[in-house]
């Protein structure tokens, strides 16, 4: 059964190339070479999680080596996937340059990249522009299949462009400038979204409460920062967040704000759940069922919290809603990251390298989004309104 999982095939594929990742697996027949050609991103390590880790500043040297090696090995790959007719413009380059900024959300980077496509485009009708955008959006999505915000952001933008252009009015240039203006504004919308979410969640944090946080979500950080500014008394338990060690970084940031913070190893969550009043997590993506996809470990924490009757609150901007419906953990696109165990792993030992898990909606209490406070069942309603 495990032989047919996609991640296994990718690992197998990796095995055929001379890359220094420490594992080895028994060999079934090697997959077809067409896999390599279809996937423009040759490095099976999820670019999304790589960037997140880069933002957090904890990057292992082994990782940097691999990233260097990957970039050097396929320098022409990036250029050859430029979507626009003839010009050397590459939407992927554009996207990557935006994504590097630590404060910018994924979806904002995607929409800025698409805006750059519009600016560089030489189309003269709305239809042509839409086709170019569709091509660029598909390229971006194929480049990093693991990033949900990227997919959702692209879809949202495409939807907006195709819908408003259907209404008969202005000429092409004013339509183009309007769409461009909206795309630029989206960055502000995203920041505003974080502030709205922070304000909405203030009522749920009361004096003397203990909050458990997992992973370094910028939205959750905004919430805690706003609470501290409103002079609320609370303390935070944050999980270490192996292998990213996001907890350490978050603890540092919280300590700077004078919030009492306590670090736990990931396994100590059940041990400390008694003294916790609520759990706050961010989300990489919110799926149609109302569940969330987040850093590995979120599902575990939600299960423990649910069994001890503690509320689990999710803070996510609305553009992270995605049209996915995972039925189990393996139903997602595999997103792998290197796991650093600080000791060399023996060659016959397999390592679980998935970076994220899916938390079903029955373990979540409320979602704080810029659309308001929602119960998990509202998510599918919102998605239906948008896509149908």
């Amino acid at each position: 059964m495990w032989r047919s999982s996609a991640s296994f095939i990718l690992d197998k594929h990796l095995n055929n190339k001379p890359i220094s990742i420490t594992h080895s697996i028994d060999s079934p027949p090697p997959p077809s070479a067409s896999m390599a050609d279809e996937n423009p991103n040759p490095n099976p390590i999820s670019a999304y999680y790589e960037t997140r880790a880069a933002h957090h500043g904890i990057v292992t040297s082994e990782w940097l080596e691999q990233a260097q090696a990957a970039v050097q090995r396929y320098p022409d790959r990036e250029n050859s996937v430029s979507p626009v007719s003839g010009s050397p413009f590459s939407v992927i380059e554009e996207f990557n340059s935006w994504r590097q900024q630590p404060d910018l959300a994924e979806a904002v980077a995607a929409i800025r990249a698409l805006a750059a496509v519009i600016r560089a485009s030489e189309a003269t009708t709305m239809m042509e522009l839409e086709i170019e955008l569709k091509k660029a959006s598909d390229t971006l999505k194929a480049w990093d299949t693991t990033s949900i915000s990227l997919t959702a952001g692209c879809d949202l933008f495409m939807r907006y462009v195709t819908r408003t252009s259907a209404l008969e009015f202005e000429d092409f240039n004013s339509a183009k400038s309007r769409v461009l203006g909206r795309a630029e504004k989206f960055g502000e919308i995203s920041c505003k979204a974080r502030r709205v979410i922070a304000i909405l969640s203030q009522d749920f944090i009361f004096d003397g409460c203990t909050i458990l946080v997992h992973g370094f979500s910028r939205v959750v950080f905004e919430i805690l920062k706003t609470s501290a500014q409103n002079k609320k008394l609370f303390r935070v338990l944050c999980t270490e967040g192996r292998p990213d060690k996001t907890g350490v970084l978050l603890a540092k940031e919280l300590a700077k704000l004078d919030i009492p913070v306590k670090l736990l190893i990931d396994s100590a969550v059940a041990y400390s759940m008694d003294e916790v009043d609520m759990v706050f997590v961010g989300a990489d993506g919110v799926v149609e069922s109302g569940g969330i996809i987040n850093m590995m470990g979120t599902y575990q924490i939600a299960l423990v919290a649910h069994s001890m009757n503690k509320p689990v609150y999710v803070a996510a901007e609305s553009y992270k809603f995605a049209r996915l419906y995972p039925l189990d953990q393996k139903d997602l696109e595999p997103a792998l990251r290197p796991n650093d165990f600080n000791v060399p792993v023996p060659p016959k030992v397999e390592v679980e390298r998935s970076a994220r898990d899916y938390t079903p909606p029955q373990y979540l209490t409320l979602l704080f989004t810029d659309l308001g406070v929602l119960t998990p069942s509202v998510v599918s309603d919102e998605l239906i309104q948008l896509y149908l």
Partner: protein
């Protein structure tokens, strides 16, 4: 105008002194008061809806502050605000359609309209944009931003100088108030009729030879059970007395008068009797946006007992009890503590009670309400039908506008 002020002040006083009992009565009085406020409110020609909304909000804030625990007041104020916004929207879309027709027929007027700086957008676009401001923010509107077009019809109609347009404008003035008052009358009718609407559905839920458990006394539950009795269903009712007010006794008396076989039990006996019960039916004081229920003290216990024994827990609530707020800490913030004399006799206990002077250390807590989380509720029966707790957000989106949540 001063007449309205005195009416408002009187009502605020009544609310503060808790003279009005029951959410239905409170809701009705509030709506009638708001109706008088609206009819007495003098509205300017431009932006009438905004003037009405401000007036209603001002009164609403006073009312909610007088009795924050009675959520029906806030609900009803928000309903009225939603009605005003809706009527305003339907009038503007009608006006836009009307203006469009006039534009098409008269060339000068087209130039006039365009001269005001209104780009050549079709009425459909404006109407769609205006409609989106009424709906709560959604993914669709995320990228669109806030359109300023809601105020455009007024400027264009006030800027025009053709006579037909001014005639339109003054009829528009009268129409909005008239429509709003009509909507408010409908709301009053709805609130008064909620018991009948809910009772109509009784026959689908109560079957022959069933045992129903209820707690305390709720008029909705009484009507519900009697309606089933009318349709020739025979069943038994267990009534938990609902200490310390013992309103269950009153309910039991009423039920027996209508010919139903009733048994009175203490609140503590609920867990003991629950295995013999087929369904628990409760009247709610308020229903929150996440599907949680605020009910008379003791319902949380009944809900937990029902969950443990897999007994359906049904909550009856009229639509005026539906509150768009999310409960954070409802046990404290949405609860009211009543007089301890209902529990203990002052005379006997005067030496050990803690009056703050330091002589005694006995404290008495007598909360009025209980909070039941949504996962314990099986079904909500409202005047629009039966719903899942996770469906509450839909009803809320229908009845209320997002802008009115914070008053």
């Amino acid at each position: 105008m001063p007449d309205v002020q005195s009416m408002v002040a009187e009502f605020v006083n009544k609310l503060r002194k808790r003279k009005i009992e029951g959410s239905q009565a409170t809701a009705k009085c509030t709506v009638e008061l708001l109706r008088s406020v609206i009819s007495h409110q003098r509205v300017p020609h431009a932006n009438q809806a905004a003037a009405l909304i401000d007036a209603v909000k001002a009164v609403g804030q006073q009312l909610v502050a007088a009795n924050p625990v009675e959520l029906a007041v806030g609900n009803v104020v928000r309903r009225v605000l939603h009605i005003i916004r809706e009527e305003d929207l339907s009038l503007t879309t009608a006006a836009m359609a009307g203006l469009d027709l006039l534009d098409a027929s008269d060339d000068d007027d087209i130039d006039n309209c365009k001269g005001i700086g209104y780009p050549a957008m079709s009425a459909a676009v404006v109407a769609a944009a205006a409609r989106s401001t009424l709906r709560p923010p959604s993914l669709q509107t995320l990228l669109e931003g806030t359109p300023e077009s809601a105020t455009v019809p007024y400027t264009s109609s006030s800027g025009a100088d053709s006579e037909s347009k001014t005639a339109d404008k003054s009829s528009l003035t009268r129409k909005l108030k008239h429509d709003v008052i009509e909507g408010v009358n409908q709301l009053i009718h709805e609130i008064s009729g909620c018991h009948e609407q809910i009772a109509e559905q009784a026959i689908e839920h109560i079957h022959q030879n069933e045992v129903i458990l209820t707690l305390g006394s709720s008029r909705t539950v009484l009507e519900f059970l009697c309606a089933a009795k009318e349709k020739k269903r025979s069943f038994r009712v267990f009534v938990a007395e609902g200490a310390p007010r013992y309103q269950g006794h009153l309910l039991a008396k009423e039920l027996v008068a209508r010919g139903l076989q009733t048994t009175v039990i203490t609140d503590s006996a609920v867990f003991a009797m629950i295995s013999r019960v087929n369904m628990v039916i409760i009247g709610a004081h308020a229903v929150m946006a996440n599907g949680g229920v605020i009910g008379p003290v003791g319902v949380n216990m009944a809900a937990l007992a029902a969950k443990k024994h897999a007994v359906p827990f049904v909550v009856l609530a009229g639509s005026h009890k539906l509150c768009p707020l999310y409960p954070h800490n409802p046990e404290v913030l949405l609860n009211e503590l009543r007089s301890p004399s209902e529990l203990l006799d002052f005379g006997e206990f005067s030496d050990c009670l803690d009056f703050g002077a330091g002589s005694g250390s006995l404290q008495v807590v007598n909360p009025t309400f209980d909070y039941v989380p949504p996962n314990l509720v099986s079904l909500f029966i409202t005047d629009t039908g039966g719903h899942n707790p996770s469906y509450m957000y839909r009803l809320i989106a229908d009845y209320y506008s997002a802008d009115d949540l914070v008053m």
